[in-house]
Amino acid sequence: MGTPRRRLSAALPALAAAGAIALPVLGGLVGTLLPAFGVLPAIGAEAPSLEQWRRLFAEPGIGRAALLSLSTGLAATALSLLSVALFCAAAHGSRGFARVQALALPVLATPHAALAIGLLFLIAPSGLLLRLLSPWATGFDLPPDIATVNDGLGLALLLGLVVKETPYLLLMTLAALNQVPAAQLLAVATSLGQPRPVAWLKAVFPLVYRQIRLPVFAVLAYSVGTVDVALILGPSAPPTLAPLLLRWATSPDLSLLLPASAGALLLLGVALAAAGVWIAGERAAATVGRAWAAGGRGIGAAAIRAGAALLPLSLLLAYCALAAVALWSVAGPWRFPDALPERLQGGTWAAQAPALAGPAVNSLVVALVATGIALVLAVAALEARARHGPAALPWLLRLSALPLLLPQAGFLLGLQAALLALGLEGGVAAVALAHLVFVMPYVLLSLSDAYAALDPRLPRVAACLGASPARVFLAVKLPLLLRPLLVAAAVGIAVSIAQYLPTLLAGGGRLATLTTEAVTLAAGGDRRVLGVVAVAQAAIPLLAFAAALLLPAAVWRRRAGLRA
């Protein structure tokens, strides 16, 4: 039995990791709550009041903005889940099914902003799609005056969210499929006369859904609260709720921080309402689904097969979007409606390199600091579990989902206020700290699976051969975990590079990264420059993932037992 001191040392790493996640979230929530009711001493507001709520609701279009956040969030989540479910139902077990994972990973790694900019280049009135169709099919010699992006209904925003979130739900679903007896269920259901796709939806999906429920709610919270995708593709008059708040929060008029905080609270309410609607939807879908399953005959296979095209289509759009930013970054003169630029040139890259070096270095430093801290904390927590038993770890894993289940603006506005009050706002450290809140959960999840998969007898054999715990860790565990550690690092870097709002708010708008540059330029900047920034932004996580997959293969090229 452990003494209290040993129990503390066993739980300390998990507590540290939990603190890195929970303190900013809780501090941020308090920092949102107080100003939302009129208390923000930093700007001289000390008496509780409700004035900022009147200011919030007096804002033209505020109701529509809230409704747009709710509707695009729910629709994006539903469409992403639907396309994943229909695809898996139709394709599970086929040969292409295994390959789609490799296709989804690069899209998952691509930052939201870069992907949204690519879609902008694709579907805007002067975008690639209309260029390909003009003038021969459409008759347009000039970009038409129709809102294919930034449309008032938020359809372009919806598309951007679906294209970005579908690969995430797909990969989560594939992981969940390994944890349920999918093949047996499918065999039983098909032997009972159900066509395969119908059998999958009826027998396998309910089990899979239970496993991916957390990622689904994370997608919902993200979609309701997205800022960068909304700024690039979303409506502007009014925008969705989160970008509207951001206008106030970053305004030189500091008194607008109060209505912004009230709005952040409203956003949390909208996210909660979205979750409520979703849960009601789950219940309804379960009732309908049970009736369908109990109805016997397997109708609907043709519809499922047709719907299965949604996911490949969404992946195709993502790759076209990436190709579009790459093309614009090297495009020479390119008039509408020419399908291709007159010539390619490297001039934009050369011209932008000096201006982009600073933001690129900032992006990298923040990503490496946040990822490094996350890796150390995660490994320490998992090592403590391996040595001393579960301690606080299960609790930590549950807690780490918290920041993913809240809309970012809901607590980041408050975190900015808290950092301001502590005098920490504005530097690389503050931004890395804010990124850590989002990097930590993913690094932890990614590594905890790898730790669980490590044969526990190998470190025990090493100890019996006389190796100290430190040597077991350095000479046995770290080398065996090289690949998952590098993958976790790549995940951390990808999450960090993608962060827009934490960078903007914790940095006080003064720390320029590739992501903040990309979002700023997307509002009417030169497309070639925007292409360069987006490619640079996307390149960092993609290179990190490539390194994480190729490096272990090179290091272990003479060790067949480690080639997965």
Partner: protein
């Protein structure tokens, strides 16, 4: 008392004992076999002797080796070698580096190499030092695993069903190889198995705890 001495050793999970407390003396150079169906805590018993018991389990009773009590000692200071059904060679190290892993610290380079090469000769694998363990046959890997355990200069050897994975003809040869090396070094050997044909020396049946479930 020389050899391996277990005194009322038991392992419990959540306050429930896996088997009745076991007392056993294995003198130097002798073998004892612990029999019992799978799943009744044989491997946990060996882990308790090694000091590598899962944190979710707890051990009670005493273990001593050549008169030295082991209770509370970390596994790396107990000097107990163990072989499992799987060879558990470190997949990231060469055969030679696996063998050298447990060599006592402080040896000169030439001496380390000489000991590894002598072990490879004993295992009938001369010249295999640079090989990737994954390229060896099952029997070769099993022999390397034994030599790796012996190079760490253990004072006792625990065998956790180490012959189960090998084909029948190979199994008898490897069993003789292991027991021969252990006897030559005068090691007390505790062998755990569920197969009566593998047993050697004195046979002890691990008694299920009275109220334990039917699995044991």
């Amino acid at each position: 008392m020389s050899g391996l001495l277990l005194d009322a050793l038991s392992v419990s999970v959540g306050g429930r004992r896996l088997f009745a407390p076991l007392s056993l003396h294995v003198p130097r150079g002798e073998v004892a076999t612990l029999m019992g169906p799978s799943g009744c805590g044989k491997s946990s018993l060996l882990a308790a002797i090694c000091g590598t018991l899962d944190p979710a389990l707890s051990a009670a009773g005493r273990v001593s080796l050549d008169g030295r009590p082991l209770d509370g000692l970390p596994p790396e200071r107990r000097r107990i070698g163990i072989l499992f059904q799987d060879d558990l060679l470190f997949p990231h190290l060469s055969v030679g580096a696996n063998l050298a892993f447990g060599l006592p610290p402080g040896l000169k380079r030439a001496e380390r190499r000489a000991r590894v090469e002598a072990a490879l000769r004993d295992a009938e694998l001369p010249g295999f030092a640079e090989r990737d363990p994954a390229t060896l046959s099952g029997g070769q890997r099993a022999r390397v695993a034994l030599m790796r355990a012996l190079l760490a200069e253990p004072r006792a050897l625990l065998l956790d069903e180490p012959f189960g994975r090998l084909d029948a003809p190979l199994r008898a040869r490897f069993r003789a190889f292991v027991l021969g090396h252990a006897a030559a070094r005068g090691l007390p050997v505790l062998l755990v198995t569920h197969d009566p044909a593998e047993a050697a020396g004195r046979v002890v049946r691990l008694a299920p705890e009275a109220e334990a479930d039917a699995a044991c």
